[in-house]
Symmetry: C2
Subunit: 207 residues, 2 copies
Amino acid sequence: MRYHRIPDETIKRLPIYLRRVIHLSELGVKCVSSTELASPLGVTPWQIRKDLSYFGGFGTRGVGYNVENLVSRIRKILKLNVVRKAALVGVGNLGSAILSFPGFRQYWLEIAAVFDIDKRKVGKERNGLVVEDITLLGTLKERRIDMGIIAVPGNAAQNVADDLIKSGVMGILNFAPRYIEVPKNVKVITIDIALYLACLPYYVPPK
Amino acid sequence: MRYHRIPDETIKRLPIYLRRVIHLSELGVKCVSSTELASPLGVTPWQIRKDLSYFGGFGTRGVGYNVENLVSRIRKILKLNVVRKAALVGVGNLGSAILSFPGFRQYWLEIAAVFDIDKRKVGKERNGLVVEDITLLGTLKERRIDMGIIAVPGNAAQNVADDLIKSGVMGILNFAPRYIEVPKNVKVITIDIALYLACLPYYVPPK
DNA sequence: TGGTGTGAACGGCTTCACAGCT
DNA sequence: AGCTGTGAAGCCGTTCACACCA
């Protein structure tokens, strides 16, 4: 199993497991079985075992998984074992919300710079960071920031993405409601919020 | 093909197509081929044709799809052909951002009520809506609001979901970083933002 | 006995090739 | 000739059953 291609779906689930084992670790739990791990997450035990087995199983048969070990192994797999820095572009309503988001810290993710095109916002402080002019995106490389978060209007998204990539960014989290074209060595994950809400009525027939 | 089970993935893509054809319709475009429709969306033409064929093809061979027809057919499939109302629970940073989100309107989605537990926010106006006390969730049924958006801290999410369901809500968009347990006739879509950013480093090896 | 690790079966979605209509 | 509609093939991911080990 060790030399298999790893499903993207597995990668998506790893942060869920990681969050849970970090929590268990903080509670002082030493050992956990796949069943105990799975049930509060809405995942099946065999799914977890399969996911972990792609990276070479690291549980103990008859016992379960060592919690501390799981934390560090999953961190390493996801490359979250060092602080990872991202730049946020766009400090509108959504950008501000993301900036004040507490959920990144546990993953050692840090928003290390904020940019906006609006001169009235530039220079102002937000969550301990000074908003920079968007023309300064080129400084990201020397600051070793290699991920970008796009929270600008749809029509600006592709330009921002291009600029981010020019500055050495290799991974983009895109909240703009657009498909973004990038070289294939760059990874884009798009979260198009309206799309999710628009699916819901299909499953909820109106009365 | 008409009596097939429809893939969830197809449903997820329909709002993307819908947004595009609404836009084309506004531009006055009358007819579009699957190739023209696909390319700006990062989707393949045969994917679009397959998706649409699940509902009984409604294009014209040798020509393409009538734009107006596509708009109304997709609206009908997604049950977005009447205004659909949702209640937002939690007016923190993220809740406020969602409330001021312009992207829902084109789908005829309306946030028709806002709730919070914080007495200091209750009674204040936000985006044309007065924030209501969360104990008033029970009034949703008589107001014919059948979808809920959860933007509260993780530890409150399950309770809010339970209350929403008690009030007749059948579909939930959940932004809280939790798995939410619901009866199986209720649909939950969870958008756990931190999870997406946490995946990114895997694809972006640190230098 | 109890819980992990994994090949194999299964199912669902995507891709393809081409038939069918205009 | 051109573009849609669709069975079939192929691929990917999940589920299962059971071998394996503490």
